[in-house]
C-alpha cells in the first residue's frame, strides 16, 4: 500500500487571536504551531493501515521553513518519508492554489490511498480533500468516521446530519478524516530519534512543473481582505442566589418575553 497524508501546520487551538498590523492576518507572535488535529487522525489511520498491510506512508505539506517541524513530528509518529512543498511563489495560495500544488506533487507517485483532514483548524475551509480528488480524477469520501479495507475495496462511513452514509468503492481513493475514526498515538522516544534520519524532500515550483500564475497570490480566487474580532456580546443577565424554582421561572419568562426564543 502506498499511502499519502497531507498535513497542515496550524496555530494551536488554545491560541489567543490578535490581528496583525496589516489588518488581514493573524499576529503570529507567541503562537505555537501544531499539526492540525484532524490531520493527526489522518496520519494515524495511514500508519495503522501500513502496520497491517505493509507499504509506506508519505507526508506532504505546503508551507514555509517552519512547516518542516511538523513534518518531522509526523516522521516521529512513524511516517516513512516526507515531501515539503516550499517556494516563495506558493505564499498566499488559496484553496485552489494549494490543491494544484498538492495534486502536482501527488500525481507522479500513484498512491493507493490519499488521506486529508476533514478541515484544517484555523482557516476551517474543508476544501482540499475534494478539490485534490477532482484534480487527480480520483473518487473521494469526506468526513470519514469508520474505514474498513479488504483487498482493493473499501467501506467508509461518512458523518452527515443525524446519520452515517455508508460508501463503498475501490482504491485508489481520497479520504478526509473526522474525529471518531481513531485515537491518534503519541510519538515515542525511539520514533523521535528515528525521525532525525528520515528524508524530507523539498520540492519547488519548478520541480512540480507549475506556472507561477496558477499558485500564490497570482492564482488565488479568494483573498482575505480583512480579519476582525467578532463583535463583543453585551453583558448578559445572570441570576444569582435565587431559589431554583424562582430562577427557572424567571429564566423562562426572560426567554419568552425579552429574547422571544421560546
Amino acid at each position: 500500500m502506498k499511502i499519502a497524508v497531507c498535513i497542515k501546520q496550524v496555530p494551536d487551538t488554545e491560541t489567543k487571536v490578535r490581528i496583525a498590523a496589516d489588518g488581514r492576518s493573524l499576529d503570529e507572535t507567541g503562537v505555537t504551531f501544531v499539526v492540525s488535529p484532524y490531520d493527526e487522525i489522518a496520519v494515524e489511520e495511514g500508519l495503522r493501515i501500513k502496520e497491517k498491510r505493509g507499504g509506506e506512508v508519505v507526508a506532504f505539506s505546503v508551507g514555509d521553513e517552519r512547516v518542516s517541524t511538523s513534518l518531522r513530528t509526523v516522521l516521529a509518529l512513524g511516517a516513512d518519508r516526507a515531501v515539503h512543498l516550499k517556494d516563495p511563489a506558493f505564499e498566499n495560495s488559496d484553496a485552489l492554489g494549494l490543491s494544484r500544488i498538492l495534486a502536482a506533487a501527488l500525481k507522479p507517485e500513484a498512491f493507493d490511498l490519499i488521506l486529508f483532514g476533514k478541515q484544517a483548524v484555523g482557516t476551517d475551509r474543508g476544501q482540499l480533500g475534494p478539490r485534490v480528488a477532482e484534480l487527480l480524477d480520483l473518487p473521494h469520501v469526506g468526513v470519514v468516521v469508520r474505514l474498513a479495507l479488504e483487498g482493493d475495496r473499501f467501506t467508509a462511513h461518512r458523518e452527515v446530519e443525524g446519520a452515517q452514509e455508508v460508501m463503498e468503492g475501490g482504491l485508489p481513493v481520497v479520504l478526509t478524516a473526522q474525529k471518531g475514526l481513531n485515537e491518534p498515538r503519541y510519538a515515542s522516544l525511539k520514533g523521535i530519534l528515528a525521525a532525525k534520519k528520515k528524508e524530507i524532500k523539498v520540492l519547488t515550483i519548478a520541480e512540480l512543473g507549475l506556472n507561477p500564475s496558477m499558485v500564490g497570490s497570482a492564482g488565488a480566487r479568494t483573498r482575505w481582505e480583512k480579519l476582525e474580532l467578532p463583535p463583543a456580546r453585551t453583558a448578559g443577565k445572570i441570576l444569582k442566589g435565587m431559589d431554583p424554582g424562582e430562577a427557572a421561572r424567571e429564566l423562562v419568562r426572560l426567554l419568552r418575553e425579552e429574547a422571544k426564543v421560546i
Binding site: G142, K237, I238, L251
Partner: protein, 328 residues
C-alpha cells in the same frame, strides 16, 4: 444583466432540506443586489412534486434534476451535475448551504470550474456589484472578510444563520436537467444510510439546543438534558468532556472537533466554556448558561445565566417550559 445566481437545493429522502431554502432566500437578496436572475437547481430522487415549495422564495427559473442516481449522495455524480448546471446557465455566483453535503460537493464542483469558494459564511454582501462575504475563522475567534476574483464564485452558507424571507410568489420556468453521468463510472457508491440510534433531531439542524458537560457525571443524567430539550422541541448536545467520558455519543459533540451549531437558543448546562467548546456554538443567537461556578468562562458569552446546581435547576426549568407549552 449580471450573470445568474445559482442556488443548489438539496433533498434527502424526497424532502427538501430547510437550510437549502435559507440559501435560496439569501440567493433572492443577492440576485436583486446584483441585478441578476435567480436560478434554483433542485436535485434528488422522487422530488418533482416538491418543486412548488421553492416558489414562495422567488426563483426566476428552476432546474429540476430528478434521478434515481441522485437518491443517495455520490460526490462525482453530484459534482458533475452542479458543474453542468453552472455552465449551462453561465452562472457567476453559486450558493449552497454548508450542510455535510454542501461542504463536500461545493469544493469538488468548484475544482471542476477552477473556481474560488468561501466556506461556511455567515454574512453576504454585494458592494459595487461585487460579492463580499464574511466567515468565522480560528474557531469563531475571528471573522474574515473574503473577496473573490474570477467567475464563477462558490459560497457555502452556514445553516440557521440566514432568515427565510418569502418574496413575491413567482411562476418560475421549470426545466429538466438530465444527469449526464454514467453510473458505471461511479467509483464510490453510497450503499445505505444508517440513521443514528435514537434518531432524534441532529444538533446541527435544531433551532434549540440543550447541551450537557462534565457536570452530568454519567450517562443516566443526560435524561435531564433530554427532557428539557424535548420540552423545548430542541435537540441534545454535549461537550467533549462528556463524550470522551463515554456518557454520550460523539455525534452530539459541539465544538471545534464536534459540530458547529448556530441555533436560536443554546443552553449550556454544566459546561465551563472552554475555547474549543465556544468554537462550536458562539454564533448561536441567544446563549444561556447554567453553572454552579459564577466565574465559569461560559458566563462571559451568555445572554442569560443561572448560577446554581443544575440538578436542582433543570427539573424546575423543564417543568416551567412544559407549563408554558401546556404539555403538563
Amino acid at each position: 444583466m449580471a450573470q445568474d445566481v445559482l442556488v443548489f437545493v438539496e433533498s434527502r429522502g424526497g424532502q427538501i432540506k430547510r437550510p437549502s431554502l435559507e440559501a435560496l432566500s439569501e440567493g433572492r437578496r443577492v440576485a436583486a443586489a446584483l441585478g441578476s436572475h435567480l436560478v434554483a437547481l433542485l436535485a434528488g430522487s422522487g422530488i418533482e412534486a416538491k418543486v412548488t415549495q421553492l416558489f414562495p422564495l422567488g426563483p426566476d427559473r428552476i432546474l429540476l434534476a430528478d434521478d434515481d442516481l441522485l437518491g443517495l449522495y455520490q460526490p462525482e455524480a453530484y459534482a458533475s451535475l452542479l458543474a453542468e448546471a453552472v455552465r449551462r446557465i453561465q452562472s457567476g455566483t453559486v450558493l449552497l448551504s454548508a450542510t455535510s453535503l454542501g461542504r463536500d460537493l461545493g469544493p469538488r464542483a468548484a475544482a471542476k470550474l477552477d473556481a474560488g469558494l468561501a466556506a461556511d459564511c455567515t454574512h453576504v454582501e454585494v458592494t459595487n456589484g461585487e460579492l463580499v462575504v464574511k466567515r468565522p475563522v480560528y474557531s469563531g475567534k475571528a471573522l474574515a472578510t473574503v473577496r473573490f476574483s474570477g467567475s464563477p464564485v462558490f459560497v457555502t452558507l452556514r445553516p440557521n444563520v440566514f432568515p427565510l424571507r418569502s418574496s413575491e410568489e413567482t411562476s418560475p420556468e421549470i426545466e429538466r436537467l438530465e444527469l449526464n453521468f454514467d453510473p458505471a463510472r461511479a467509483r464510490v457508491r453510497a450503499v445505505r444510510v444508517e440513521e443514528s440510534v435514537g434518531a432524534e433531531q441532529d444538533v446541527s439542524e435544531a433551532s434549540i439546543v440543550v447541551s450537557g458537560g462534565r457536570a452530568m457525571k454519567g450517562p443516566e443524567n443526560f435524561a435531564l438534558i433530554r427532557d428539557l430539550a424535548q420540552a423545548l422541541g430542541g435537540a441534545m448536545g454535549a461537550s467533549r468532556a462528556a463524550v470522551d467520558a463515554g456518557w454520550i455519543d460523539h455525534q452530539y459533540q459541539v465544538g471545534q472537533t464536534g459540530k458547529v451549531v448556530s441555533p436560536n437558543l443554546y443552553i449550556a448546562c454544566g459546561i465551563s466554556g472552554a475555547i474549543q467548546h465556544l468554537a462550536g456554538m458562539s454564533s448561536s443567537k441567544v446563549i444561556v448558561a447554567i453553572n454552579k461556578d459564577p466565574e465559569a468562562p461560559v458566563f462571559k458569552l451568555a445572554d442569560y445565566g443561572i448560577v446554581g446546581d443544575l440538578y436542582e435547576i433543570l427539573p424546575k426549568l423543564t417543568e416551567e417550559v412544559r407549563k408554558l407549552k401546556g404539555q403538563s
